[in-house]
């Protein structure tokens, strides 16, 4: 397959950046949730 490096790079960039962002969001959530009681979280 020609151009395989560019094609794979585009998929790696796409899903690695989404995964990194998602990880960052979950990290910030967990950090903030340490000091917020469960009953203050309307989604629970």
């Amino acid at each position: 397959m020609d151009d395989l490096g560019f094609i794979v790079a585009s998929y790696v960039v796409t899903f690695a950046s989404v995964a990194l962002y998602a990880r960052g969001v979950l990290y910030r959530s967990r950090k903030a949730a340490r000091d917020v009681p469960r009953d203050k979280r309307p989604w629970l």
């Binding site: 560019f6 094609i7 585009s10 899903f15 998602a22 959530s29 949730a33 340490r34 009681p37 979280r41």
Partner: protein, 247 residues
């Protein structure tokens, strides 16, 4: 005080499962199964990440504008709308960045260059920078209400750039091709499997968008609560100090 399931619910966990499944299927179909294009050859496989990224970035910015309008309208005013707007803009910037990078890689294969100051590329880059500015404005000081009001006004102005980006390929002579799927008067015949893979890409990116925005707006709510409690504690300390000084 606990951080168990900080912003997760059974719904987001189920959604996350389908997102991971969808990504795996998209990679298999996009890279290995769908056919090469008659004109673009193998490089068309980049389309399954590039096009959904761009479409979902548009959707995210429109959602930011709709949520901002809901905040500004007195009958629906709630900081929840502001947090949805902020979360959606963040995810939109992420998707737009993905679309720019994948488009650049695709451009290298089809045009022979990573970047050119073409109308579509330039307006897209301008839109990207505008929303980075929007996020910077959200980070300025002030109360939550001040943040919500100023960023809502900015979001309603920024969304006006989207039609300019979308129609730039029709307004100017550009290297970028016109809309292949839903363009006006387009006569592009796409292979059924290619169309299905593109559709799957849009579905997967939409599910990713919902998952990311749900978690991010909840984490923004937690951060706002901490800000409020921090302010309350500081005020209590000042009052206690003032009372002691008075005695």
């Amino acid at each position: 005080m606990s951080n168990d399931r900080a912003t997760s619910t059974p719904f987001t966990k189920g959604l996350g499962f389908f997102v991971v499944l969808g990504i795996a299927l998209l990679i298999i179909l996009g890279i290995f199964v769908s056919p090469a294009d008659v004109n673009q050859g193998e490089s068309v496989r980049i389309m399954y990440a590039h096009v959904p990224g761009a479409w979902l970035a548009y959707l995210a910015f429109v959602m930011t504008a709709v949520s901002s309008a809901a905040y500004l309208w007195k009958r629906t005013r709630s900081l929840t709308w502001d947090r949805i707007a902020g979360a959606s803009a963040e995810v939109g910037v992420l998707f737009m960045g993905i679309s720019l990078v994948t488009g650049s890689l695709w451009g290298r294969l089809t045009w022979g260059t990573y970047w050119t100051w073409d109308a579509r590329l330039t307006t897209t880059a301008f839109l990207f920078v505008t929303y980075i500015g929007y996020l910077a404005v959200r980070g300025l000081g002030g109360t939550h209400q001040q943040r919500a009001r100023r960023s809502a006004v900015l979001a309603l102005l920024a969304v006006l750039e989207i039609p300019l980006v979308h129609f730039s390929v029709e307004l100017w002579n550009t290297l970028h091709q016109e809309a292949s799927v839903a363009g006006r008067g387009t006569d592009v015949e796409m292979n059924g499997l290619m169309l299905f893979t593109l559709f799957l890409g849009v579905v997967v990116f939409t599910l990713m968008y919902v998952w990311l925005v749900l978690h991010r707006q909840r984490s923004l709510m937690l951060e706002d609560m901490l800000d409020d409690s921090g302010l309350d504690n500081a005020l209590s300390e000042r009052r206690a100090e003032a009372t002691q000084a008075g005695h």
